[in-house]
């Protein structure tokens, strides 16, 4: 240690010496003495300095150093007790002591500070540690949150189908969460848990039930089971069937709404983060639950849809059936209404099931809107009918008879009281169910055929026969009687002549009667054919007037009008009509007078009137004069012969030629008979002469 200090001194000296030499050179001191003297001076200064430094610095220092070496560390040198030290040494010591003390104090302070620093440092380290941990945790949380979010996206991206949910969850667990082995089970309808999807597991268990094995235990307790076997290490171990056994395994039941929806099985090399996994399990459970709900809903919807379709089909079928039923009913009603008979059908209990309008009209019942199942009862209705009958006993008896033997078929005739006097042919029969079998009686049908018209016709026929008989018998009586008298008695010639005249007149009357009768019979039976042609009525009237004029001097027969009066009719029938009317006019004006035949044209018709100045027709008889066998009876016309058929024939003939006839009269002043006939257009007209010519030509051919 000392040597380097000496060397420093030596270097300083040498530097001084060098500076001296340099000064000399610079100053160009050539005087050797000067040079020598300077050198000696310098040497003397150096020597003095050396001594001084030795005496004042190095020696005490050495002394001090020795002493100090002998001192214990960190102890002050005891100045008072060691007074053998030189003053310098002492002052040094004192200085050192002060320095030491100062150093000591600083040291203390430093120590203190260091201590504090260390303390702070350790605190900081702890905080750092904590921060690190927090950060770690945050990062985990962040990771988890990211995972959760991603899982959420994956899950919500899945369709609500069990397999797809399971597949997506497994892919997520496998790729994102780094589980090499994953499987998801769900509970099927039978209560078993069946494998939905798996990854990385060869020959995974397809099916298990609650309580069976570790998987069954997890679903039974609804709590996750984690199995840790760190002893397996990070190495994969394969069992005989190729299944990998990893050190960390998790069996997580998928719980939603406190119901186990399924099970997720995971295996990993790392310890399993229960948080994330359980969160995931809940997500899957929710999705599975929703998928089930969805499937149920779908199923229900499909069922509903199917049911709706079925219902629709049924309703369409029903609608069709209804349509058929409606149509059948409509047809049935139409059929009931289209028959002439009044009819009703009543059930075994007497309720009138259906009736038609004829029946309603007959009994005065109102036809209900719903013809079926009315509130009418056969007993009540029958009472009503019986009450209106001329012969009520017949129907009452029938009702009694039916009570005794309800399976009877009965026909009878009943007549209603005045004013209708309607006659009904009643028929009633049990109605058997033809479809179900003859044994089953549905009810009873009643028909009421209105035979009034037939009765009337029959009565008319009888009346006609009776009248004809009467009319024939009257002249016959005269003929027979007078003949008998002539044969049995001796009579004078005057009387004989009178009798013979009467016989001849009555015989002629009989002939006319028979002719007229045959005519009207032919007309009635439609055996009379009409040959409609066009001719001049005026001409015909003039011809006939001439014929009648020649028979009677008392009458003046006139034809008025502007010829030609063209008509469309049957010529011979018109001749018959005119014959009857003119002969009547002549006959019933026994005192004679004018018979005016007036012809005129109207729009579409020809009007003819035949006016006489005869007896006229009583007012009460006017409506009847065209009836058969009707004859006005009074003493004035007692001797005027007639059959009572002439005007009836006129009317019948004109009716059949689109014509018409009516009469007006004042008794005592005469009658006017009006006739209308269809008019023929002038250009269509053909005169009688022309027609005759054509007929002639036809004959000649």
């Amino acid at each position: 240690m000392k040597l380097p200090r000496c060397l420093n001194l030596l270097i300083i000296i040498l530097l001084g010496y060098f500076l001296l030499q340099t000064g000399i050179v610079v100053l160009q001191l050539k005087n050797i003495y000067y040079v020598l003297g300077l050198n000696i001076l310098f040497s003397g200064i150096v020597l003095a300095l050396l001594y001084m430094s030795w005496k004042k610095v190095f020696a005490p220092l050495r002394e001090l150093a020795d002493k100090i070496d002998k001192m214990k560390d960190e102890q002050l040198y005891p100045v008072e007790e060691n007074s053998d030290f030189s003053y310098e040494a002492l002052s040094l010591i004192k200085a050192f002591n002060r320095l030491i003390l100062t150093i000591k104090r600083y040291n203390e302070e430093l120590k203190e500070k260091n201590h504090q620093m260390e303390k702070l440092n350790s605190e900081y380290a702890a905080q750092h540690q904590e921060l690190e941990e927090n950060l770690q945790e945050l990062q985990t949380t962040k990771h988890n949150i990211e995972m959760f979010a991603e899982l959420g996206m994956v899950m919500s991206g899945s369709r609500l189908e069990l397999e797809e949910i399971a597949q997506n969850a497994i892919e997520f667990a496998s790729f994102k969460l780094d589980f090499p082995l994953v499987a998801i089970y769900t509970q099927d309808k039978s209560g078993y848990y069946i494998l939905l999807a798996s990854r990385g597991i060869k020959g995974a268990v397809e099916r298990f039930s609650a309580g069976e094995s570790v998987m069954g235990a997890a679903v039974l307790d609804k709590k996750p089971i984690y199995v840790s076997r760190p002893e397996y290490g990070a190495a994969r171990t394969e069992t005989i069937n190729g299944e990998e056994i990893l050190p960390y395994q998790g069996y997580i039941p998928l719980i939603h709404r406190e119901e186990c929806q399924g099970l997720m099985v995971l295996a990993s090399w790392k310890e399993i983060d229960g948080n994330l996994i359980e969160y995931m399990s809940r997500r899957i459970a929710v999705n599975l639950y929703n998928a089930y709900l969805h499937a149920n809903l779908l199923h229900t919807y499909e069922q509903l849809h199917e049911e709706a379709a079925l219902l629709e089909e049924l309703s369409a079928q029903r609608e069709e059936e209804n349509e058929h039923a409606r149509r059948d009913r409509n047809i049935a009603v139409a059929l009931l209404e289209s028959v002439e008979e009044a009819l009703f059908f009543h059930l075994q209990d007497g309720r009138i099931y259906v009736h038609n309008q004829h029946f309603a009209r007959m009994t005065g019942e109102k036809t209900p809107d719903n013809r079926w199942d009315s509130s009418l009862n056969v007993e009540d209705v029958m009472k009503t009918i019986i009450a209106t009958m001329e012969n009520p006993d017949k129907l009452s008896e029938t009702m009694q008879q039916l009570k005794r033997d309800p399976d009877q078929t009965i026909s009878l005739n009943i007549v209603q009281q005045e004013p209708s006097f309607a006659s009904y042919e009643v028929f009633t029969a049990p109605v058997h169910d033809i479809v179900e079998g003859q044994d089953k009686i549905l009810g009873r049908i009643w028909t009421f055929r209105d035979v009034s018209r037939e009765y009337e016709i029959n009565a008319m026929k009888n009346q006609f026969v009776s009248t004809v008989s009467h009319e024939l018998r009257t002249p016959l009586s005269s003929i027979m009687g007078f003949t008998e008298l002539m044969l049995s008695r001796e009579l004078d010639s005057q009387k004989q002549k009178k009798y013979l005249e009467t016989i001849e007149r009555e015989a002629r009357r009989l002939t006319d009667l028979i002719n007229d009768f045959l005519d009207i019979q032919r007309m009635e039976s439609g055996r009379v054919s009409y040959e409609i042609s066009k001719f001049d009525l005026f001409e015909i009237c003039e011809e006939l007037a001439e014929v009648f004029q020649t028979k009677s001097d008392k009458h003046q027969i006139l034809v008025r009008g502007i010829p030609p009066i063209m008509v469309k009719a049957d010529l011979s029938k018109i001749e018959q009509v005119l014959n009857n009317l003119i002969s009547n006019a002549v006959k019933y004006s026994p005192a004679g007078g004018q018979v005016e035949i007036e012809l005129s044209l109207e729009n579409e018709a020809v009007h003819m009137s035949i006016k006489d100045q005869g007896l006229g027709i009583p007012e009460e008889s006017l409506p009847h004069i065209f009836e058969r066998f009707y004859r006005v009876d009074n003493s004035d016309r007692r001797n005027i012969g007639g059959t009572g058929l002439g005007l009836a024939i006129v009317k019948e003939l004109l009716d059949n030629m689109q014509g018409s006839v009516w009469a007006e009269s004042k008794p005592g002043e005469g009658s006017i008979f009006h006739v209308c006939l269809p008019r023929a257009k002038d250009n269509e007209a053909m005169s009688k002469q022309q027609m005759d010519r054509i007929k002639e030509e036809n004959k000649n051919e």
């Binding site: 008989s469 018998r473 009586s477």
Partner: protein
Amino acid sequence: MSMEKILVADDEEALRILICDTLEKENRIIDEARNGEEACQLILTEDYDLLILDVMMPERTGYELCQEAKNMDNSPLVLILTAKAQSADREKALAAGADHVMIKPFSTMALEEVVEKLLESRN
């Protein structure tokens, strides 16, 4: 011997003549009526032994006249002559109180016989 009084009512002149001529006899008066009304007047005013009535007459039918006559005191006998040949007509006539019914055409001899018998029964 009292006079027999007969009324013949028929709207057919020829028949009236026939009946009158057939029944013409001494001690017998035969009146004629041309219709129901005339006959009725005569029945009410004259005292007849026998009425010979046609059924189908204007104003009054033979049946009506018959009924009326039969309701009188000392009612005359009634012979109804009808051209209606049905049995119902005969019954109607008997129901009206007629003593005999003859159907037209009739035999004058049968008429004579019937009238004689009826008048005898009355005597």
